[in-house]
């Protein structure tokens, strides 16, 4: 049996851990609700914006303009990695990084140092990229709480400028999509060059397959234009593209980030809940053991006492 003092210390230790994880659970739950609300509210906007982009691209590529935005020989790929700043989020970062590993392995390994460029959001991702021997060209942090649109502009401008200057020819993102409070999935998306097929896929990824928002799917299909539409562009195609594409890029990234935020907080909440539950179980177990030890000691002392009393009375 372990000593009483030792058990007492452990019980206290586990109890304070429980207090901390419970507090973190509550904080994460509040943040999750907020992030979820914002992510869900902006979903419709994101769907429609992507849908318009899809239509626009369809009608443009048939016109043959602005080819560089839609097709490019890929020499360099920029990888946008979205993770959290802080740990204690369960498998949230791990699953994104696992997907990234798979992607890196699928690339030609001889030329990988020259062909991949990393842009990271979140401290954990930055650390990981450095660990596997790359230096991120730019790292962003503090995107974790519900991120404001203004903050995204810096990131999306950076991505767009690099693409325009031919610093990279393709942007692939690794992030987490929020399905529900209990499940989030890692998604790999091509952000630039724009590709109608891939955009459609993105939209389909984002629309939940069941539940409250699933009827959206039907709604979208009804409104979807199968043939390239013969758009009038006002004032002219040139200006629309100049206005629209950066805007869409911004929205796409904003939405991606909101989904990641909601996922992060949900994941943290679940992890903290598990930790609190475990701490509770452990406290119960330790308390039981503590009481047993205590009882054992009392019994032993009583035994000794009665033994001594018996010995003394016999002598008298």
């Amino acid at each position: 049996m372990a000593s009483l003092n030792y058990l007492k210390k452990r019980i206290n230790g586990v109890k304070s851990i429980n207090q901390i994880t419970s507090a973190m659970e509550l904080v994460a739950a509040t943040k999750m609700r907020k992030a979820q609300e914002v992510a869900l509210a902006s979903r419709f906007y994101a769907f429609d914006a992507l849908e318009i982009l899809g239509n626009l691209i369809n009608s443009l590529s048939s016109a043959g303009n602005h080819k560089h935005l839609f097709e490019r020989r890929v020499k360099k790929t920029a990888v946008l990695l979205v993770t959290s700043d802080k740990g204690l989020v369960g498998s949230f970062n791990g699953s994104v990084l696992k997907r990234l590993d798979k992607f890196i392995k699928s690339n030609d390994s001889a030329d990988i140092g020259n062909s991949l460029i990393f842009i990271t959001v979140g401290q954990k991702g930055t650390d990981y990229v450095k660990k596997i021997g790359f230096e991120p060209v730019k790292s962003f942090s503090n995107y974790s709480d519900v991120v404001a649109l203004e903050k995204i502009i810096e990131l999306s401008d950076f991505l767009e400028k690099g693409y325009r200057r031919n610093e990279w020819d393709r942007i692939i993102s690794f992030s987490t999509n929020f399905t529900s409070a209990l499940s989030q999935e890692v998604v790999e998306r091509q952000i630039l060059p724009f590709d109608t097929e891939k955009i459609r896929k993105t939209i389909e990824d984002v629309i939940p397959k069941t539940g409250r928002y699933s009827e959206l799917r039907k709604n979208m299909e009804e409104r979807r234009a199968e043939e390239p539409l013969d758009y009038i562009m006002e004032p002219n195609a040139e200006e629309i593209i100049e206005d629209f594409l950066p805007h869409l890029l911004k929205i796409e990234i904003y939405h991606l980030m909101l989904e990641a935020n909601a996922s992060e907080h949900s994941s943290r909440r679940m992890t903290m809940k598990n930790a609190s539950d475990n701490a509770e179980d452990l406290t119960n177990e330790l308390t039981l053991e503590y009481n047993k030890s205590r009882q054992e000691m009392i019994t032993r002392e009583l035994g000794e006492l009665t033994g001594t009393v018996a010995a003394i009375t016999q002598n008298i």
């Binding site: 902006s42 429609d48 318009i52 758009y231 562009m233 629309i240």
Partner: protein, 83 residues
Amino acid sequence: MMNVKIDSLRGILFESTAESLTAETKAGEITVLPGHRSLITSLKPGILKIIDSNSEEKFFEVKSGFLEVKKIKEKTFLTILID
């Protein structure tokens, strides 16, 4: 009648059928009626006016945004994105 949907990042502001929509675009003010050709245009800061199916006027503030008109199988769909 045409289907009009106004999206903002805070959620859907309007989704219903309407008789007409008037907006300030970068190329000038336009009014879209049912049966309009497919169109994409960017919006200028101003007021967007919708006459809904009950012939009531509805107004929305626009800082910047885009208007898409889709004509699919004789149906007209309008999607407006505003910030």
